[in-house]
């Protein structure tokens, strides 16, 4: 008899977690419209239904008329200059080469991302950046291939820049600016862009190219020609790999200007937050 009781107690103990789980599942099935607080029933959580639990970051746009004008200019620049150039270019150069060039540009800027990681105190990410750089520079043949993408722990991460660093330090963006050619930015973004230019290894590598060269014979005051040509080349190469993206973005938007501004603000905020 004693044994039977013991068995029953044991049985009850064993069945308990399962029963509890069943009860929990029933708790989740709440009447529709029942106003119950957040964690148990999102479908009755007003804040969740209004999208208020993850509010979108905002950025003031006091110079909207100017910005809309620049947006228009950039739109035309894309369709009448950048896109046709990129199309001709992609007809001449096969995709693997264009991808390789894009990867190499990304790789040569790795020290820039590394420094910004350090500035932000993100040491793990800095280590990953260094690891990717070493791997892609060697096995990836000078960064032509992104070998690191396939390596666990060196997972593809997005860019790190000075604008993010300044944001991490608690400096606000200011307001929204659309620069011609360069696109969406802010006062903080503009400072970051300029600073990144000086931290960019490429700036130092190609800085003096062409000056005093016996064949092209650039004067010292024409030392901007090569860097400009390189950045135009980089842009055209990059755009050639993304033809259709901007078109799709515009087609899907209700108001492309607002969609772009919001995307810029959200993207920046997400990067600073990480």
């Amino acid at each position: 008899m004693k044994r039977t009781w013991m068995m029953l107690v044991l049985a009850a103990l064993l069945a308990l977690p399962a029963l509890a789980a069943g009860q929990q599942a029933q708790d989740r099935k709440l009447e529709p419209g029942a106003a119950v607080a957040s964690p148990l029933n999102p479908a009755a959580d007003i804040e969740f239904l209004e999208g208020g639990e993850a509010p979108a970051p905002t950025l003031a746009d006091p110079i909207e008329p100017f910005n809309r004008g620049m947006f228009w200019v950039n739109d035309k620049l894309y369709f009448y200059l950048l896109k046709p150039t990129a199309q001709v270019y992609s007809a001449l150069v096969i995709k693997p080469v264009r991808t390789g060039v894009n990867n190499a540009f990304h790789n040569v800027r790795s020290p820039l991302r590394f420094i910004n990681c350090l500035f932000q105190g993100r040491f793990t990410r800095a280590g990953q950046e260094l690891g990717s750089f070493l791997l892609n520079s060697t096995f990836g043949i000078g960064g032509l291939f992104r070998v690191s993408d396939g390596v666990e722990g060196l997972n593809p991460e997005d860019d790190e820049d000075l604008d993010q660093t300044l944001g991490t330090w608690g400096i606000g963006q200011g307001f929204y600016i659309v620069w011609p050619v360069l696109g969406p930015s802010s006062p903080r973004g503009s400072v970051g862009y300029a600073g990144d230019h000086f931290l960019d290894p490429l700036t130092w590598i190609i800085g003096g190219w062409g000056v005093g060269h016996p064949l092209v014979d650039f004067d010292k005051d024409k030392d901007w020609i090569v860097p400009l040509a390189v950045s135009v080349g980089e842009r055209v190469n990059n755009v050639s790999l993304r033809i259709g993206d901007y078109e799709a973005f515009k087609r899907d938007a209700i108001d492309p200007y607002l969609a772009m501004r919001d995307a810029y603000v959200q993207n920046r905020a997400a990067r600073v937050e990480k």
Partner: protein, 195 residues
């Protein structure tokens, strides 16, 4: 001894009845959908039949997305300003817009690799699954946010490079709402449909 066996059996049966059907983990849900969609994208027969391919992709995406919740969250506080008929119309038109947007973007596929990464719990009933598309111009992070609904997981937002689709459309609709109210929002969507 027999009694023990009988008891154990009873316990097993009881436990079996009481235990709820275990819902699939969010990461599994996303992985399965991604893999299915990739199969359609790589299928040579479907590659030459865009319409059929789009239908197949929609077939996978439709049960995964909770368009009503997405619609409500997109309009936010303005949702209440719509009467029930307008709400229904909005859900219909907006889900069509999102479905077309998603399908067309996905159909741009050029053999990129897709990595399904970590799942990050947001709270007891909300979670996000991070994926990365290794595009030629660089990796694109794409995050799916899901919530627990009737024992299953449904997508309520998608974030591309940190940009929430819901928030992005809300910014745009807010402006139209401020200027022309609910009717203007609907007119805008109706016109897109015909174009």
């Amino acid at each position: 001894m027999k009694r023990i066996v009988a008891l154990l059996l009873t316990v097993a049966v009881l436990a079996g009845f009481a235990a709820p059907v275990r819902a699939e983990e969010p990461k599994q849900v996303v992985t399965k959908a991604v893999e299915q969609i990739l199969t359609f994208l790589r299928d040579p027969a479907l590659r030459s039949a865009r319409e059929a391919q789009a239908d197949k992709i929609k077939g996978v995406a439709r049960p995964l997305f909770d368009y009503r919740i997405i619609s409500m969250r997109t309009l936010g506080k303005n949702w209440k300003e719509l009467n029930p008929a307008q709400q229904e119309e909005f859900v219909t038109l907006y889900s069509r817009l999102l479905e077309d947007t998603y399908t067309k973007r996905v159909q741009n596929y050029q053999n990129e690799q897709v990595q399904v990464g970590d799942e990050v719990k947001l709270d007891d009933t909300k979670t996000e699954v991070r994926t990365t598309i290794l595009a030629a111009a660089g990796p694109i992070p794409l995050t799916y946010r899901l919530y627990m609904k009737d024992g299953g997981w449904k997508v309520y937002d998608v974030l591309a490079e940190g940009v929430s689709l819901t928030n992005n459309y809300r910014t745009q609709f807010d402006e139209i709402f401020r200027n022309g109210g609910a009717e203007e929002v609907l007119r805008n969507l109706r016109e897109r449909k015909s174009s």
